[in-house]
Symmetry: D2
Subunit: 363 residues, 4 copies
């Protein structure tokens, strides 16, 4: 019930952080697409740790293998199974295990949910590592969507106190692929250094720092999404909130709507080159749960990684008493750079699911 999602394009993940391998099955993917492996590997590389001083030194091989669904480099239309083997682990780093529960982590909640039988090593199935197969699946989806004219771009709109501009004010027709080459993709040139500085400062304090990602999807047709219970926002947010660390999602003007008048918030319609468009896009491309053809823009907040070097107060499950915890090991002070491709992957998967659902709307 928890490792599968999707209606028409079903995604099922398996494995855990410190097991032999992790993977994903993508069920319902179109047939005949020649997989661009370079593109897929590039996406996975963006997610992998060890990219810079900012991120974990734990290097993962992250080389995906196809167990099924591909023949001669083309998707067959049959379920695609991608497996990624875990090669670089230091289980010794997680030696405190399940006694002193780490604040912000799922040590305690997993312990309760699984009656004490949970696999606590390295985060088990709660680990951010499970986002690796999601990125692989998403890469296939975004490759297919690009062939339909859909683009997905994601940048770091905020890291600590550093704020970037917003897609809400950017030109949707511009080319944002340059972002895929940036470690901390931003709209405004030169912000990367400030962001890195804040992250480094957090690292030096044995601390971590949060931020916010913003994603824009262009090229979508109007008509995707179904009220009530499978609106564009519902389907996307359902997946986004599955990502460890996402604690908030907003579309278009988002929480900014709270202080707006309707006259400000509404997006007037007008004709432009025979196409119906809106003059503004506060609704983030979605009206009544259905896309209207304007760019879909959403934001998600990424909480600071809970693993920090500083001592923290906690409890000992064994003794039932308060205790102090210092978390050893190799930790990211800021996972935002790694989360960017994950969010893009999620957007691609959600869009393809709704794309297929739309294709099944017959007359």
């Amino acid at each position: 019930m928890s490792s599968t999602c999707g209606q028409c394009l079903k995604l099922s993940i398996f494995g855990q952080s410190h097991g032999e391998a992790i993977g994903v099955t993508l069920d319902g993917f179109p047939a005949g697409m020649e997989i661009d492996m370079d593109r897929l590997l590039a996406e996975m590389a963006r997610r992998a740790p060890g990219q810079s001083a900012l991120t974990t030194s734990r290097k993962e091989a992250d080389a995906p293998e196809f167990l099924s669904g591909v023949l001669g480099g083309r998707t067959t239309g049959q379920p695609i199974c991608i497996v990624i083997r875990n090669t670089n682990q230091h289980s010794r780093d997680y030696g405190d295990g399940v006694d002193l529960v780490r604040p912000g982590h799922a040590d305690y909640t997993g312990h309760v949910r699984y009656f004490g039988f949970e696999d606590w090593r390295g985060g088990g199935s709660f680990s951010g590592r499970l986002t690796a197969p999601i990125v692989a699946a998403g890469a296939l989806c975004s490759q297919w969507l690009e062939a339909q004219g859909v683009s997905i771009a994601c940048h770091v709109q905020q890291l600590g106190s550093v704020r970037d501009a917003s897609f809400m004010d950017a030109d949707p027709a511009a080319d944002y692929t340059y972002m895929k080459k940036m470690h901390l993709p931003t709209l405004t040139a030169g912000l990367e250094k400030q962001m890195e500085a804040e992250a480094m400062a957090a690292r030096e304090d044995g601390d971590s720092i949060g931020g916010m990602l913003e994603c824009m999807i262009t090229g979508l047709p109007a008509g995707l999404g179904a009220p009530f219970f499978d609106s564009m926002e519902s389907v996307v947010s359902h997946l986004l909130f599955s990502v460890p660390a996402v604690k908030g999602v907003e579309f278009g003007a988002g929480f900014g709507f709270a202080s707006m008048r309707g006259s400000q918030a509404n997006d007037p319609f007008r004709m432009a080159d025979g196409k119906v468009v809106t003059t503004t896009n506060h609704s983030g491309g979605v009206n009544g749960g259905i896309t209207n053809g304007m760019p879909v823009i959403f934001r998600c907040v990424i909480r600071p990684t809970p693993s920090i070097g500083q001592a923290q107060q906690t409890v000992s499950l064994k003794s039932g008493e308060n205790a102090e915890l210092a978390v050893r090991g190799r930790h990211d002070p800021c996972i935002l750079p790694r989360a960017v491709p994950v969010i893009e992957a999620i957007a691609a998967i959600a869009v393809m699911d709704l794309w297929k659902e739309r294709a099944a709307c017959l007359m």
Copy 2:
């Protein structure tokens, strides 16, 4: 695919705003509960328009009837079907219909999605009226949950420029049932007048105004929610984003996490009366997608109602040209008061679904 949701407690809505009736089927509801009809009617009354000068003058009967699932006033455990008949409609008010598409509404997107065959009258199945059966279903759920010690409280944390305090700083053990009697429930006494003033000002301008609701769920055990794809946040947000006008959802510190350090964001654990609690609650009661026993706190932004009295720019679907639109009829300048019971209902439905899912976790 769109009118049903839920895994273990399935909810299926039917009907439309200007049809004869609307309703909901609740499948998997526990047997043997003596339905508190006064309580249910009170919840529905909170949602109904015509409560005050703030809301629409369109009065609805909103009297629910049980077509199944109830015998001798008790739930049977079999599917419960609740029907609500529409009694007070003015279809003449919607005479512009599907030619001039109203900004912010689903007129255009529904027209595309349903190939021009959509039922455009009064919003059809996009109408907020479909939240009435949701409130009825939610009332049954919250009644059952209260018997398990769970409380759900929701207040208007922001209306335009007026801001209330937050549940994040409130005493979870306090009694917030007084809020159900307030038209604009707030934590801080006396704010209601300011909020009403802002709403009235919007009304006089032929405009509408947005806001933000905050909800707190206390009494939940730890262990509800399943990573990856059915976390507490995923299940709740999926439903919340189904509500017309919700454009953002955040949990705990929410978007505030973006500027936090991990040392600020983490919630230290400690023992209190033999129970594991957290000293702070930035995570909003959820770690790794699973509840930890602390209050679950979330916020959702409510965009200003799109129907405003002012003239707006739009297009004519018939002529394919730009046009101006003035929306006649009876419109809420602010739906926040009516949205409060809807959000509470959604919280109750989501929690019961996960409660049942948890009950199926065996050893």
Copy 3:
């Protein structure tokens, strides 16, 4: 979890036999179809009791009303809700209720499942009456499918000791619509009288009699159905076994395969007018869970209605002791004539679900 089914075309039923109304919501139905009400009413009439001396004297109005999804007589593409009001009930006839549990019925199992809180009146939600909305929904589906060239025909292949010929030996291109006008549709002319005689004999004995229906679906394209878990047979049988009284389902040669050699069972391929066909059709039109373009032929056995006039041994739930039961009331000695349109409806619903799923198979 139990009142909803379907993947791309979702069906959700509500209500119960002795409640005010019963109904169905069909979610995902194509837009723009002009509903043939005469056709729908004719289908429902075939199902309704009181057609002949064979069936129950309890007459039902069975007039369906559309609560949503229809505008100007055309489907909108939005969820279609059909409600049927119960008008002719004799609750006194079910006065023994839940004390003496009727053999073959769900009195006992429902009592256990719903912890004694079940609605026992008239069979509650177990009643065959819930097949009425299924027939309505199926009528919409079969009307749409006919426009795509798909035909569904169902006959009584066996009633007691009387056996008809099989569709396996019939001409798939022939017109079988004449069956819809027969009370006991058969391939072989003149069998109806023998069948009625067996049924009347059962009635005179205060007994009931079983039989077997056979259904043929022609005009399907190859490619419908998805291995593993949504094969044509899986989807169809899942729905068929939901019908009260169905206790067996077989496709093509069915249980006859048990004594066959592969050389007998295999269907050789050949070209016919540029189309791939099979020379025989033991597989009933399905290979590897996917349709191959040949007629889909299946059979389902209908157990004799459990309600009989003869005294039967049972237990008293109240006293916990053995007891004797005589079931009063108005009972069908043979429900086969009424089951025919139900099976056809089920076939139509299942096929449309898979048709939509197939439409979402993109390249």
Copy 4:
């Protein structure tokens, strides 16, 4: 949409016959069970080819590895992922591939469904080999169910012209575990030789032969299964019809009901040792879709394996003309022995899904 099934216990299969590996994820399995690996391996061995002269000489390693969900030999309650590597393949044996489509196989239908891009090697994802992970998953389920007092036994009730006795007439309290040690499990001693003789005769003719399996599940409580759309029969048959070669499913008296009177078919209730039982069990332990506590008995027909040595008529997809096909390679004349553990596994999986669903029925 096709590789996942289940409501409360979700099963997701991945891989293909001639890929590197195949596997399954079991989501929702109880925590804390100490896995009996010998038992699991024994179950898988029953399924593996190369057991006797009857079955394929293609030997598979079939050694399952746990990628997740197990720690210290115990289930964690988190998703269990089992991978089985393919070690013994002869892709040369499938050299005709997708040109001459094999009668009875999914070559043609898969070619249509996947637009010509399907993976045709060795049956791809249609292969019976995918039943290996199902057996592994089912072994975990049956181990857990046995601890709850549930037993599942399956025998070959018919192979060609040889017929065994039926569980309908056997003592449910007897111990049938001896069947697991038989290559062709039967109730009647000595039948195995006759069955083997028929199978060998088919093999010598370059042919194959079909049969029928019968399964009995004892120890179930009353109350499992939910009408309408998740009855015990629906859930079980949905899974059974996913197995390649199953073409018919019946419960209890099954198709025998067609010639019965209600007075013969009904199962009278009586008290036995303070428990409600039925004197006969024509309903196969299920009334109204819900178990009544009596043994659940069902049968499924296994069509003869389509791969036979004899020449067959077919078409060439490349030339669009008729052609003759002789299938080389190693083929089972009779897969019944191998199907027995598959059917038992399916029964276990279906029962656990409904067991969990029942556990979520609260009051």
